[in-house]
Symmetry: C2
Subunit: 387 residues, 2 copies
């Protein structure tokens, strides 16, 4: 299958591009390296040393004989998005090419505006390009479980059937996102749903949980293929950050009580989910939503797991609770459906001490690269900065 991986140089995009290439698909990676620029802006970098895209792709060719094409540019620029879709004519377009950090979107007005414009316009451009050039192309869009927030009822996969005053309808599941980044994904979902209904496009919205772990079978083949490992307060998500903190002898920092419960997924399952979606496209006109996570964890539960694994490696991490920089419920009901990808054949890698130990060891090996000043939260949800 001809698959365009937008954002294919990033944390999820790169292992996905390799996995799809390894499965024999014809892959084109489109990226403008903004993720690398944001590291420079924030004074941090991946804990693992990552090579530039050309080197990665050359090494992959040497090791496997497989070719990955590239297109360098910004999908939020109309002409670039059009030319990439027109030139490659993808059968599936996997769209990771968005600003994906909630704290980054909350830094100030200009970061909020950038996040929403970048994400919404990039997706609009791809919708129009697909609609005019390749209406049969299956858009596989990365959303987030954070679109739903934490309602007091079960979270379903995209839609909910509501009985109200004696009548019934199945409607888009109500969204309560918790940052300007999460909001941008809600905006995307509405825009894509409209394009499917109005133009007959086909799309799958993958509401992904928090992704943990770093390496996949393919990225582990060679150091040049290594995936990024984010641990800072802006782009590092909970489990990976906790591991870096413990490996560095720093405290594991839980925001607030830590009762915040979310869906989580191993990066090795992310890449598999993308292929499952690609192999099982929806009908034309269908906007399909899958919740892409494999298990629920509370933040405190994760912190304790890291603490335990660290002790078995003879580390002595302290576990501390910080004032929560985010505005979110710290104890709440959470029960989200995630059967549709399992029904398509996903066999989850569930989180265990072995995975955590590997993350801890990787962090230990790269200790000299840790910018410890970036561990702590630097963005406060409560105070708007015009900026």
């Amino acid at each position: 299958m001809r698959i365009l991986v937008a954002g294919g140089d990033g944390f999820c995009g790169w292992p996905t591009a390799l996995y799809l290439s390894a499965q024999g698909h014809e892959v084109l990676v489109a990226d403008d390296f903004s993720r690398r620029r944001w590291d420079a802006e924030l004074g941090t970098e991946s804990l693992t040393r990552i090579s530039d895209l050309d080197a990665r792709i050359s090494r992959w060719r040497e090791l496997t004989g497989r070719e990955i094409q590239t297109a360098v540019g910004d999908l939020a620029e109309g002409r670039f998005a059009y030319e990439v879709v027109d030139g490659f004519k993808p059968e599936a377009l996997v769209h990771f090419a968005e600003q994906r950090s909630a704290p980054y979107s909350m830094i100030d007005r200009s970061h909020a505006v950038f996040t929403q414009v970048n994400n919404v316009v990039g997706t609009l451009n791809l919708l129009f390009a697909i609609g005019e050039i390749s209406p049969d192309c299956h858009l596989i869009k990365l959303g987030t479980m954070g679109e739903y927030g934490t309602p007091n009822i079960d979270i379903e996969e995209g839609y909910i059937t509501i009985e109200h005053k004696g009548r019934t309808d199945t409607l888009p599941y109500p969204k309560q996102p918790g940052s300007f980044y999460h909001l941008s994904k809600v905006h995307d979902s509405h825009n894509i749903m409209f394009a499917c209904r109005t133009w007959g496009l086909k799309a799958t919205d993958l509401n992904q949980g928090v992704v943990y772990n770093v390496e996949t079978t393919e990225t582990a083949l060679d150091p040049i293929l290594a995936n990024r490992y984010d641990y800072d307060g802006i782009f590092g998500t909970a489990l990976n950050r906790f591991c870096a903190q413990a490996a560095n002898g720093d405290a594991i920092t839980v925001y607030g009580q830590g009762g915040q419960t979310r869906g989580f997924i191993d990066i090795r399952d992310t890449v598999r989910c993308i292929e499952l979606a690609a192999h099982n496209p929806p009908e034309s006109g269908e906007f399909r939503v899958f919740n892409q996570f494999t298990e629920q964890w509370s933040i405190l539960g994760l912190a304790r797991l890291v603490e335990k694994a660290a002790r078995s490696l003879e580390m002595e991490p302290e576990l501390v609770h910080l004032d929560n920089p985010r505005v979110e419920k710290e104890t709440h009901y959470y029960n989200a459906a995630n059967t549709r990808l399992m029904d398509l054949g996903l066999k989850p890698h569930l989180l265990d001490e072995e995975t955590v130990e590997r993350l801890l060891l990787t962090a230990m090996e790269n200790r000299d690269r840790i910018h410890t000043e970036t561990f702590l939260p630097q963005v406060n949800w409560r105070r708007p900065h015009y900026g």
Copy 2:
């Protein structure tokens, strides 16, 4: 009260600014005249002759002794939005300053992107400006009934209580908007709701129905104060366009079967609703939603009403059904709540033949200004144009 009217040179904004000024409020109009530019772009103009903002405001001062301040600029530009809010320190900010035409947003990619960026960024800028400078300022934001689409259950005012698998929660009402413009309003609603919850701002989202009629008590005082009368296929809404068509001896053009049912409101009620919202602000942290319409009509029902009124003025309009340029249901359930503004004291002007006759007569008087080539729909929902 110190009230900032963003978009105060437009069809709803101008009569609102005058009405609030007449009630003794201190009013500042912010506008960048984009609505006038779009007329030039589309080769059309208001059926009534409208004066420029300076002339309008001078005349108002001469007639009433009341001063309306102005700030000319684009609220989607960060610095301008900040300076306007910082300079005026409004107690209420009425936000009309958005691109408000569904067909305009559907012309092509660049119009879709412009509409969403203009509307979403303008609102984000105002939220940050209020949040940093005037957190007690009440944001009164114009949404649209079109955010809801046409669900098969009753439409409530912003929220719905859902019982699901033995649990209950009150959640944002699910949205199914029907154009990139309507989508932009849904994006705004989510952004504003988040800002209220996270920063403790107070906002009222007025999901307005289709506005008809042209003059209010204040705009009718003098020809220099006249309000705009849009009748073209892009900015002219159903009733006003039908009247212009009938007055010109052209056919009244109903899209499809005409069973599309929507909420409608007289411009004289719009201005009153804004003041009711301003006088009754929500609590800090509350995102309040009112459905701002007074009655439901089907498009065919409106067309027949215009036909009848026209006959009583000795006109002989033909009523024709066009292939629907939009993608929408032409027969559907529709029952929307609208009690909250009535509870605050709104006494509706219900639609009658007298109002329609006045619109017909105004159109007759201005017949020489009609660009008949703009009556017919020029934008097709079904075909994405990259543009």
